[in-house]
């Protein structure tokens, strides 16, 4: 009986596994297909070559990476500063602050994207790189705060006070005492912000102007026109980079107990 249950268990896992990976494997296989259609026309790297020579793809990759890096950096600085301020706040004020902070995490990306678009329209900002960057910072800070806050809470306040008592200036005490203690939370917050920014499509879609693309928005506009094999190549490269990034992030910080929302 137990053996039978364990057999069905394994079979179920295997089925779900196939379901999850079949499309990804197909996509990777097609990226090496010489032809443009669905028929296998022989192995070829032609789509990778096409990808490397496409300036649209190149621009999108640069935009995506620079927006992810900048927005994650700014969000981390902003998040850490506000966490330190938050640690001095109590009761109602803190609860309200945290609830507002949680709104973008719980809200649908569609609504977040639309609402940011309306703000940029109201202020009269021209849509482009800077609006996307502002939007990404906005949805990234909550992740930083959620991963730094537990660290600050569990930190021993008296070591910081001891440093100040012993004559260290607050800034020095902060970098010498507080930073090392909260660093794992800061790093994991930064990485989470970075990956959220990389993965975002919906909010970028509503806050970008016509002349600029990230990888996600480029794929969207290309795929709407039908299958584009160079997108298969790009997908393969991105998937493998994501695996690499994931392995790296899992090896470095062991502090990843923060909320992830339905990114779509």
């Amino acid at each position: 009986m137990k053996k039978l249950a364990s057999f069905f268990g394994k079979a179920w896992l295997a089925l779900v596994f196939v379901f999850l990976y079949a499309p990804i494997v197909t996509l990777i296989v097609y990226s090496f297909n010489e032809g443009k259609g669905r028929k296998w026309a022989g192995f070829s790297l032609v789509w990778y070559e096409r990808m490397l020579h496409s300036s649209a793809i190149g621009d999108a990759v640069v935009n995506t990476l620079s927006i992810a890096l900048l927005s994650a950096l700014i969000a981390t600085v902003l998040g850490v500063i506000s966490c330190i301020g938050l640690s001095a706040l109590k009761g109602r004020a803190k609860a309200v602050y945290m609830s507002i902070n949680n709104i973008p995490l719980l809200n649908s990306d569609l609504v977040t994207g639309l609402s940011l678009m309306l703000v940029f329209v109201a202020v009269g900002l021209s849509f482009g790189y800077s609006t996307v960057l502002l939007a990404h910072i906005s949805f990234n800070v909550p992740y930083v705060i959620l991963s730094v806050m537990p660290r600050i809470r569990s930190m021993n306040q008296s070591t910081y006070e001891a440093a100040v008592d012993l004559g260290a200036k607050p800034i020095r005490a902060f970098f010498a005492v507080t930073v090392p203690e909260i660093l794992p939370g800061v790093i994991s917050g930064f990485l989470m912000a970075f990956t959220m920014s990389l993965d975002d499509f919906i909010i970028t879609h509503f806050t970008k102007g016509p002349g600029i693309n990230t990888i996600s928005t480029l794929i969207y506009s290309e795929v709407r026109r039908g299958i584009q094999p160079s997108m298969n190549a790009l997908s393969t490269v991105m998937f493998l980079s994501a695996i690499l990034l994931l392995i790296l992030t899992n090896v470095i910080p062991k502090d990843r107990r923060v909320k992830q929302k339905a990114a779509d």
Partner: protein
């Protein structure tokens, strides 16, 4: 010292007012005013009762509810099995089940086109079995895309809440005479409830509001409420109607958030 320190929370507070609160207020302002004149009106919100809008909303609700249920049915056994295997190498196994989530969302959806579209593997296989017509452009294809995209969001909270159950509790139940089925229905199910609720919200909200899945797999034939709102903002550009419909959508989001808050006080089941 502490008094001065709290002012550090101010910059981001100002940011949140500008980029979280005011934007939401603006949706309400747009949604409740007339295009052009700016006069107060309910007509944008009430336009949900126009036939095309209402049909899209109902289809979205139906598909997202089915999607949530299917995800739950697939994910619960997976999480249970992973929990049982936890002593061994479940870290690696859970990694494998979460990995697709780290692939770009659009690519994950797009990947299905390769299989379902004319000439794709599944299309050809179904045709050989006598299935007629296209798969792309059906509700089934959109549902499949939704389940595929959001399944990891269900597996993760379920897995987290199930592994948090102490084995001693189960042993106690067994010692007190419960058989395996009773352990499952009377102990494991109730204790995993916060994970179930958080999984449901994490799948329901994005599948209710999606426009990407229906765009890519619906062959432009399937209109969900997300598609209608998106096109009001980008193509038809009547933002007032789009905002009014978003307000309707936000009611559903708020309901599911309220349910989540009610059952998941710790937020722990959401941990990734």
């Amino acid at each position: 010292m502490t008094n001065k320190k709290k002012w550090l929370a101010l910059p981001y507070f100002v940011w949140m007012v500008g980029f979280t609160l005011i934007p939401l207020v603006l949706i309400a302002v747009y949604g409740l005013t007339e295009r052009g004149s700016g006069a107060f009106t309910f007509s944008n919100v009430l336009s949900i009762f126009q036939e095309e809008h209402l049909r899209a909303l109902i289809l979205s609700l139906v598909l997202s509810v089915i999607c949530t249920l299917v995800c739950l049915l697939i994910a619960y056994p997976v999480a249970l099995i992973l929990r049982r295997a936890k002593v061994k190498k479940s870290g690696f196994v859970i990694f494998i089940f979460i990995l697709p989530m780290w692939m770009n969302f659009l690519l994950r959806t797009y990947a299905w086109l390769n299989l379902l579209d004319d000439g794709g593997l599944i299309f050809t296989a179904l045709k050989a079995l006598g299935f007629q017509g296209n798969i792309i452009g059906t509700n089934g294809a959109v549902l499949l895309g939704m389940v595929y995209n959001y399944l990891p969001f269900m597996i993760l909270p379920l897995y987290n809440s199930l592994t948090a159950i102490d084995d001693q509790v189960l042993n106690a139940a067994r010692d007190l005479g419960a058989n395996e089925r009773k352990v499952l229905t009377r102990v494991i199910f109730p204790l995993s409830f916060p994970g179930v609720v958080s999984g449901i919200t994490m799948v329901f909200v994005p599948s209710l509001t999606t426009f990407v899945v229906s765009d890519l797999l619906g062959g432009r034939k399937i209109l969900l409420i997300g598609n209608i709102i998106e096109s009001e903002f980008s193509i038809a550009s009547n933002r007032h109607v789009g905002a009014g419909l978003s307000l309707v959508l936000m009611i559903f989001i708020l309901i599911s958030m309220a349910i989540l808050n009610h059952y998941d006080k710790t937020g722990e089941a959401n941990a990734i």
